[in-house]
């Protein structure tokens, strides 16, 4: 009966809003903050048209175009610059927001049996899907309006009302398209992981198609919704047709999702779910194998991410010297050492930044040991014939190897892009050496995590403060002229910044020894404390 299929949609919409009353504002704050802070800082950094034209020049290479899309670089006003460098990436984030939240209210709720409870009440069978669609279309419309009027309120000359509203609309429309895509996959896949994974895969693929298209074949970008985003040319040509195209696509997706939801069984999907293995592989039968399997996806994602970061830093190395000459802040940021080019100074700084980023996955891998404990799953090991030492050692080994791989990948990524854009590229071994020089510092961070898990598991997140401290002190330290000892409190402050500093083996050996010692103490703590959960 069509007239009862939607019964209860209104009330369920309120339930969704109630459940997400924290989540939605958090996403809003994050997205709006970055949308508004960027043009403001651009205004400070690139106040004159001359400075912006220099920036435009560095943007004019295939790597940057593949990353942020095309723009009219001859008319690089603040508005065009903001839209060029920020709109696409922000749209990806908005898409991600829709994917995560829509999955949560569709397939995830269904998988956990909550939709079953709802469906046993006098509620139409399409009510949940449609209340999710209604709420997330509204959320994206509101986001579009806040972003649009917010940008206009900055009162920057080239950021006019129409362009701002179009900028916001492009964000919102992307969110609505991915609301539809996720709603569709929530019908096709029979798990929330599948729904999220497939939707994110679509997000990445549309981004890549657009990247390839923008560099080589314009027509290719036209099949990707994210390609449409850059076609709006906000603050320049102000094209509204891509917005209507996205809304049209969304309506088709909504109708398809509704149709599929109507003809399928609850908790069933259309894509075949392949049965899992009935036996554990030899590797999985050890604690180390299990630890590895649990983190596999995360490790792969981080590895790809760090490689991409390396590649993107590498791709700008060619134009750096000309870029820095026009930029006071960056010149200040790099303490001016005579005898080295800007590129060499810059590279030593980004190596440190990337090393700090590469610290995140191994520390996460280590903290997983406590995460499992909190969820009460460590008991399964300890109640069997696995000693605590062996258990912790499994996680330490994974984390230590993880760190080496991650640090190396940043160097590999950097080199593989730099070799194409630089006139006199660095040797592969030089770059890899620069990256790996930070390995002992990463080991110290891991050992701090081990120490905390051993003695103060509840405070395990303190290790992140230490990582953050290192970042601020060393990245911004030079600009604020901190005393030396402030930087020396971080293990990263002891690593020679190649190629500007000379290679010194002593601090690296000492750091490695400290890491080994702190880890050992952590083991002692872990063996003697109570296990939670």
């Amino acid at each position: 009966m069509a007239n009862t299929n939607l019964k209860g949609t209104g009330r369920l919409s309120w339930l969704i809003i109630r459940r997400d009353r924290i989540r939605i504002p958090l996403w809003f704050i994050g997205i709006i903050f970055f949308t508004l802070i960027v043009p403001v800082s651009f205004k400070d950094l690139y106040g004159t048209q001359q400075e912006r034209d220099v920036m435009a020049e560095t943007m004019e290479n295939p790597a940057m175009i593949a990353m942020v899309g095309p723009a009219d670089l001859s008319n690089y006003t603040l508005g065009v610059m903001t839209a060029h460098q920020m709109l696409l990436l922000t749209a990806v984030v908005v898409g991600l927001m829709s994917i995560l939240l829509v999955t949560r209210h569709t397939r995830a709720d269904e998988e956990d049996g909550r939709i079953e409870m709802i469906r046993s009440l006098p509620v139409g069978r399409l009510a949940n899907l449609n209340s999710t669609l209604v709420v997330y279309v509204m959320v994206n419309v509101v986001l579009a309006l806040i972003a649009g009027f917010g940008l206009y309120a900055l009162n920057i000359e080239s950021i006019d009302l129409e362009g701002s509203l179009l900028y916001g609309a492009a964000l919102g429309a992307t969110g609505i398209v991915f609301t539809g895509i996720t709603a569709l996959f929530a019908q096709l896949s029979d798990s929330s992981r599948g729904t999220m994974g497939l939707s994110i895969a679509v997000l990445i693929i549309t981004y890549l198609i657009r990247g390839v298209g923008d560099v080589s074949q314009e027509a290719l970008s036209m099949i990707s919704p994210l390609g449409w985003v850059t076609k709006t040319e906000a603050y320049d040509a102000n094209n509204w047709w891509p917005i209507f195209l996205m809304l049209g696509l969304s309506i088709i997706l909504f109708i398809l999702a509704n149709y599929l939801n109507a003809i399928r069984d609850l908790e069933a999907g259309f894509l075949p779910s392949k049965p899992g293995k009935s036996h554990a592989s030899r590797l999985l039968q050890t604690p180390i194998g299990l630890a590895l399997k649990l983190q596999r996806t995360g490790i792969i994602a981080w590895a790809i991410g760090l490689l991409v970061i390396g590649v993107s830093y590498g791709s700008i190395l060619g134009d750096l010297d000309s870029f820095f000459e026009g930029n006071d802040m960056m010149t200040e940021l790099l303490a001016n050492e005579t005898g080295f080019s800007f590129t060499e100074q810059f590279i030593s700084m980004i190596m440190m930044v990337m090393a700090l980023l590469a610290t995140v996955p191994p520390v996460m891998a280590m903290n997983k040991l406590y995460g499992e404990e909190k969820k009460g799953r460590i008991e399964h090991f300890l109640s069997r014939s696995i000693s605590r030492t062996k258990l912790m050692a499994s996680f330490v080994i994974i984390s230590v190897i993880n760190a080496f791989v991650m640090v190396s990948l940043t160097g590999i990524g950097l080199w593989s892009a730099a070799v194409f854009v630089m006139d006199e590229p660095f040797e592969f071994s030089t770059i890899l050496g620069m990256a790996i020089a930070y390995y002992p510092a990463v080991l110290v961070m891991i050992s701090v995590a081990v120490l905390l898990i051993g003695f103060l598991p509840r405070l395990v997140s303190v290790v992140w403060l230490y990582v953050l401290y290192s970042f601020f002190v060393l990245y911004l330290g030079q600009m604020f002229q901190f005393s030396d000892w402030v930087g020396k409190l971080s293990p990263f402050g002891h690593i020679p910044q190649l190629p500007v500093d000379e290679m010194m083996w002593m601090p690296m050996i000492v750091l490695t020894l400290i890491a080994a010692m702190v880890t050992t103490i952590g083991f002692v703590g872990y063996r003697t404390r109570d296990i939670e959960g």
Partner: protein, 306 residues
């Protein structure tokens, strides 16, 4: 008068047949026990009845309306409690109860408070902090605080402690006294025995027995313990005697109900000193159907029905 009637309901998932012509009838004012092992099709049957799954073949009606086409109408008058209750981790128990009551359209504040009191639930806690039993209490309170005509309960007590199980049983009896009907699927056979007027047993998607407990007992064996003055002979060879144990003058065994008279007559010749008989428990009945299906087929092929 039947409140719920399923006729020949078949449900296939691809090639797998989960339900194979299930017939089920629950009358007004009756508590119907629905038993069967894991994977037999209890939950699938219930989901078809709730209009959540669409039957491949057959017809199911509640209050005379089709369970699929008129699901929303029907649901205004039924209350459902699943065995595995999952709730929204960041809502409190109280909020969830109100949501469910509101969605059904009722509003009985007194009843809600009374049940929260009886089930000893703290409604101010977030659902993520609740144990399995507490989440089940939330579902039970929402169900019993609504003024439903049919309660569909799918293993509702699997996480409750014995005290709370007692409260649950009281709630079911109250519902029954008020003329409501209950479809209770359960593994706890003592509970079914205590509460249910009629019982249906499902196996591999087929209903293999339906009837009152008394009717079902007729189809099975009585446990006997006998002590006699003289040693009993010839018992082991008699038709319908099973599981004979013990010494000559003190024997325990089971007798098929239809052979009871013959066996008692035989035993009485030896001078009965003591005779204890126990009716078969539901567990005996249940075990008999599931323990070794080959045995069932060879021993008493005629016993199964559709």
């Amino acid at each position: 008068m039947s409140v719920l009637k399923a006729t020949n309901v078949t449900k296939r998932f691809g090639k797998f047949t989960a339900l194979d012509g299930v017939n089920l009838e629950v009358n007004k004012g009756e508590v119907f026990g629905f038993i069967g092992p894991n994977g037999a099709g209890k939950s699938t049957t219930i989901r078809v009845l709730l209009g959540i799954l669409k039957a491949t073949e057959g017809e199911a009606k509640i209050f005379g309306k089709d369970v699929w086409d008129d699901a929303v109408d029907i649901h205004e008058r039924i209350a459902y409690v699943p065995g595995d209750v999952n709730l929204w981790p960041n809502l409190t128990g109280g909020e969830v109860i109100d949501l469910f009551v509101k969605l059904r359209g009722g509003n009985n504040k007194n009843r809600r408070e009374e049940l929260i009191e009886r089930f000893k639930l703290d409604p101010t806690k977030k659902c993520r902090t609740y144990s399995k039993g507490n989440r089940q209490k939330v579902a039970l309170i929402s169900a019993f605080s609504s003024d439903a005509d049919l309660y569909i309960l799918d293993e509702p007590t699997s996480g409750l402690d014995p005290l709370m199980e007692q409260v649950f049983q009281e709630c079911v009896m109250e519902a029954k006294e008020a003329g409501k009907s209950v479809l209770l699927s359960s593994h706890i056979l003592s509970e079914v025995e205590k509460l249910c007027d009629r019982v249906g047993i499902i196996r591999e998607g087929k209903m293999i027995e339906t009837g009152s407990l008394n009717e079902l007992r007729h189809l099975t064996r009585t446990n006997l313990l006998v002590e006699t003055k003289e040693p009993i002979s010839g018992l082991a060879e008699m038709k319908g005697v099973h599981d004979l144990e013990g010494e000559n003058q003190s024997l325990s065994f089971q007798v098929d109900t239809e052979e009871l008279e013959t066996v008692i007559r035989h035993v009485s010749q030896f001078g009965v000193v003591k005779l204890e008989s126990a009716p078969p428990t539901l567990e005996d009945l249940f075990m008999r159907h599931y323990e070794g299906q080959d045995q069932l087929v060879s021993e008493s092929g005629g016993e199964t029905n559709g």
